[in-house]
Amino acid sequence: MAISNDKEFKSALAGLSASQQRQVAARFVQRVFVLSGDVRVKAALDFAARADITDADLTVVSQAANSARVESFTQCGKETDWTAQGGHFVAKAAVACVKAAEPADNLAWEAAMQARMARTCETVATGEGTENTEAEEQYRILEAFLNS
């Protein structure tokens, strides 16, 4: 299956089970994990990537990843470090990977969007313009996942 735009991307993600969504979402986020480096975020991604994750595991790693997300907010009035802010969005994406899922949720889409946001922050930090190909990379990851 070839994916060429976000409509197809979102629709394909919505067709996956919650466990599959977590697995593919973890792959999206692993691409930008370098911007975070937080061990709690890494643990969340490692668990999300597993097909045998339990609800108890999810609760533990979700709480820890959420702490990483809250701690990495840029507070009002503080000078912005865009690289660190990229780390915040990585944590936010990781939370999406492991949060409790409602039937209508599209966890993987949410994680994908936050991962793109992390990459956008990186481009602001480096001052190298706003071009990034994260969306296309995510399409390829999903294609590979669906074909595996």
């Binding site: 409509k7 840029t74 507070q75 009002c76 009035g77 503080k78 000078e79 802010q85 889409w109 706003t130």
Partner: protein
């Protein structure tokens, strides 16, 4: 007396205007303001009594403008204001006052204590006794144009993210647009979803809107530190942008002080009426709802409650709109005790959240919000201020309360049916 203290005292004398004189002379020392302040109720320390936070200013008022005070000063019965005293008061005037206005609301003689604190901050700032965190924000506002150092390329990057990933156009410098949308740095940095929500809502409502490249930042650090010249400069930047683009309405974002600065103080600061209307985004959404321009589908079924930002509800009088909006998308909206006009502050307004050394006290004060939440036990907490949102998240994390926090504008946008181009979803 040091040069900076001399300057500060001069500024303090200048800010004692007729309202301040009448407030000091009419205070009946009843202490009701103490019970209205979360820094007092949660610590029990009488130094956090709001009117006490103004003690150096009160003494100066008596020494300069009352007969007994002048006599007292002459014979050495009334102490002069010193640098050490102002330094000690820094915690009271900045860290433990969020300008939430609850004290002003309960004062039986109608003293606007917030007005007095803001005037006191002018002297504190001039004498070099403002907290480092707020000074840093002010310096960045002067040199970069934003308290958090956000420049136009960062805004453009977020615009591009929203345009590409949500498939919605974000107009920039569109002359003649009906609405000019302002952002707070917090929304640009932490909550880019807000911009996507605006795009979605405006698209559905069929309204023309724009961002302004020379005036995208709504936050007013001048108001927070107590520097009316800077506050005026920042308002003027927005006025220039809005007049250049000939917009009809400027929309203040989900940021409390940005709204107060522009909506309630702006015209007085620049000394003339605006040529455009100013509305908070929640007021705009309320209007769209009334006019049938906001069409949502589906309902949230978990238990939601709403935290009223002080500047919006108490200082701005916007109370009904957010409730109508909540009920539009929620089947289980519950109110916290004291919700609405007398809601308790998150503890981080008025620049307090930018003060690192005030964090421990903020967490102590957050017990008030915790007690409100403990009564209703919501599944999620909705608000309409980006700063409240982060302060709430930090407090909830500190007290290990698992209650997700979300913005009302985004919540509404989530219930608007998809209407985007092929690229977006």
């Amino acid at each position: 007396m040091s040069a900076s203290l001399e300057k500060g005292v001069r500024v303090l004398k200048e800010v004692i205007d007729a309202p301040i004189a009448s407030y000091f002379s009419s205070c009946v020392h009843c202490g009701l303001c103490a019970e209205a302040c979360l820094f007092y109720t949660e610590t029990g320390d009488p130094k956090y009594t709001p009117i006490h936070k103004l003690e150096p200013l009160r003494r100066l008022y008596e020494q300069e403008y009352t007969l007994l005070g002048r006599l007292g000063k002459l014979v050495g019965l009334s102490k002069p204001v010193t640098d050490d005293e102002l330094e000690e008061w820094k915690e009271l005037v900045y860290n433990s006052c969020t300008l939430c206005g609850r004290c002003s609301a309960v004062c039986p003689v109608g003293n606007d204590i917030v007005y007095m604190v803001r005037k006191f901050r002018e002297g504190m700032s001039a004498s070099g006794h403002a907290p480092e965190g707020i000074i840093g924000a002010v310096n960045r506002t002067v040199t970069i144009g934003s308290p958090m150092g956000v420049k136009l390329p960062a805004v453009k990057a977020q615009m591009k993210h929203v345009e590409e990933d949500y498939g919605l156009p974000i107009p920039l410098d569109a002359e003649g647009a009906e609405y000019m949308v302002m952002l707070s740095s917090m929304e640009i940095i932490n909550f880019p979803e807000y911009l996507a929500a605006i795009a979605k809502i405006m698209h559905q409502a069929g309204k023309t809107w724009t961002l302004c490249s020379t005036a995208f930042e709504a936050t007013n650090a001048g108001m927070q530190i107590g520097n009316s010249d800077l506050a005026k400069l920042l308002v003027m930047r927005i006025v220039d942008g809005a007049e250049k683009l000939k917009v009809k309405t400027v929309i203040s974002p989900e940021c409390g002080h940005a709204y107060t600065a522009l909506r309630w103080e702006g015209a007085n600061l620049i000394g003339r009426p605006f040529t455009f209307k100013v509305q908070h985004i929640i007021e705009v959404l309320g209007e769209f709802q009334e006019q049938g321009l906001l069409k949502t589908e589906g309902f949230e079924t978990d238990k939601l409650t709403f935290h009223d930002p002080c500047q919006l509800a108490r200082r701005g009088g916007v109370i009904k709109q957010q409730r109508n909006l909540m009920n539009m998308v929620s089947k289980n909206f519950v109110e916290m005790p004291d919700a609405g006009y007398m809601n308790w502050c998150c503890g981080g307004g008025g620049g307090a959240s930018a003060i690192e050394e005030g964090e421990e006290l903020r967490m102590e004060a957050f017990k008030k919000k915790k007690s409100q939440l403990d009564v209703v036990k919501p599944d999620r907490l909705v608000t309409a201020c980006a700063n409240c949102r982060i302060v709430l998240e930090e407090g909830l994390e500190h007290y290990q309360m698992d209650i997700p926090v979300l913005g009302l504008t985004e919540l509404i946008a989530e219930h608007i049916p998809d209407q985007t181009s092929e690229k977006g979803a």
